[in-house]
């Protein structure tokens, strides 16, 4: 059972997406786990063949409990008496008499197809590969002894992106509704989790708030014009533009993008904007759009739709839950004009977005009617001061005045 968030210590296995004997690759969804916050897909940490599923659906187990056992491709599936000792798929730790994926030792073990025998990968390169979804098996290393460094991963990503132009929307497995409800009321457990997290936020984080009203005339006009050229599916809603602008603003004000850990601010190297999604059964999740600032606006829009639909279908991925560096909560659709939000620990800021409202607005000394939005930044006063929050909002305002550059 992997940890799917800093505050998680146990989870309920909802269902298996694989069976014993299936071949899986690193990154393949293997199971659905209920974390009390939401249902999340757990991906395989390695390539291999599923030898045994160790936890029954509906069971609640502590983080660190082995869920399944994998063996390397090419290995005979171990006979039952040989596999008595449990091994975690997520954390292959060698134990006597137990072959552990990915079996890097020399000898009679058949190396997995496409594996890198003895290949070394720098920690940064490994992290980049995970974030960018690059398969390390396909990366050739440029370092000493073929070690993979960050630039090799970046080069590999460049080529894969070219090879896979705009793959048609991946068909989500629709039929997999939660078949085995968790033992206790999922709704109340989710409320408990939110309660614990938000109580901690209000107890530990000295919030400050700064707010501004932004003229969205330029943005809405630009969207109206450009959306006319787009099919319905590709149309961009103002919320997506605000997200993109917020990500760019976060990059310019790195003090708001990161985590408060051990009494110190740790800036995040990338902007992974968290998006608060209200799920209909009473859950609230805030998964990340990875590297938001690097995506084009249409990509942000597509990522947003994908994320929201998967959040509601309980199909979020581990990294999406764990990675947000700054969260945006947009309650404009719920009709409110202003959102003064609570920061998600250990993040240090949260942007609240209200409804787009037509207001009387002074332009060049004359009163006009303009679409406007109220933006409120909640900041952690331990990490930054109001001036930083104010500069962030000013940057955000400026960015929104030039939607064509987003």
């Amino acid at each position: 059972m992997p940890s799917l968030g800093a505050d998680m210590d146990a989870g309920t296995l909802v269902e298996w997406l694989v069976r014993a004997g299936d071949t899986v690759h690193r990154g393949d969804p293997m199971a659905v786990v209920d974390t009390d916050k939401s249902a999340i897909e757990v991906e395989s940490f390695d390539d291999g063949v599923v030898e045994a599923l160790l936890v029954e659906p509906g069971t609640r187990v502590a983080v660190g409990t082995p869920l399944a056992r994998l063996v390397a491709v090419g290995m005979t599936v171990a006979a039952p008496e040989q596999s008595a000792a449990p091994a975690a798929a997520s954390r292959p730790a060698p134990s006597p008499g137990q072959v552990v994926v990915p079996a890097p030792s020399p000898g009679p073990v058949v190396v997995p197809v496409g594996g890198r025998p003895g290949g070394r990968v720098s920690p940064y390169a490994r992290r980049l590969a995970r974030e960018l979804g690059v398969d390390l098996d396909r990366v050739s290393g440029s370092g000493a002894d073929g070690a993979v460094h960050a630039e090799d991963v970046l080069a590999a990503r460049a080529t894969t992106t070219e090879q896979v132009p705009d793959s048609p929307a991946v068909e989500e497995p629709v039929a997999l509704e939660s078949s085995a409800p968790p033992a206790r009321s999922a709704r109340s457990a989710r409320r408990e989790t939110i309660a614990a997290l938000m109580s901690r936020a209000k107890r530990e984080i000295p919030h400050y708030y700064v707010a501004t009203t932004v003229d969205l005339h330029a943005l809405t006009e630009w969207l109206r014009r450009t959306n006319r050229e787009r099919s319905v599916a590709e149309r961009i809603v103002p919320a997506a533009a605000v997200l993109k602008a917020a990500a760019l603003a976060a990059r310019r004000h790195p003090g708001l993008n990161g985590f408060w850990v051990d009494d110190a601010f740790v800036p995040a190297p990338e902007v992974h904007l968290g998006v608060a999604v209200h799920v209909r059964d009473g859950a609230l999740v805030a998964p990340a759009i990875h590297r938001t600032a690097d995506l084009s606006l249409p990509e942000v829009m597509a990522a947003l739709r994908d994320l929201v639909s998967r959040a509601r279908a309980g199909r979020l991925r581990r990294a999406e839950m764990a990675d947000p560096t700054l969260t945006v909560t947009d309650l404009g659709d719920q009709g409110v004009e202003e959102v003064i939000g609570v920061i998600y620990p250990p993040q240090v800021a949260l942007l609240g977005v209200g409804r787009v409202v037509e207001r009387p607005w002074a332009v060049d000394g004359l009163l006009g009617v303009r679409p406007t939005v109220r933006l409120t930044l909640s900041g952690d006063h331990r990490a930054t001061d109001g001036a930083t929050g104010a500069r962030f909002l000013t940057t955000l305002d400026e960015l929104l005045q030039h939607p064509e550059e987003l």
Binding site: L223, R224, N227, R228, V232, A233, R235, V237, P238, A239, R280, L304, R305, V308, G332, D333, Q334
Partner: protein, 83 residues
Amino acid sequence: MTITREQARDVVERAVRRIVPDADVASVGDDADLRAAFELDSLDFLSFVELLATETGVRIDEDDYPELTTATGCTDLLVRRAG
């Protein structure tokens, strides 16, 4: 392609149910505000419009959105455009 009022009305109901599975359009009335009644956010509404457009082949622009507030409005627009 022309469609009847009943067919159009059926497309609207099915589209709402695809987004909110337990939604009952009849229960809120033909002139109720769909977004308010079913708590559709802007992404939901975009999906709703997408479903209406793909099911009927009708072109729907953002300028048409105000007309799509109620079930009646949606039905009217689909019948008029398809015809």
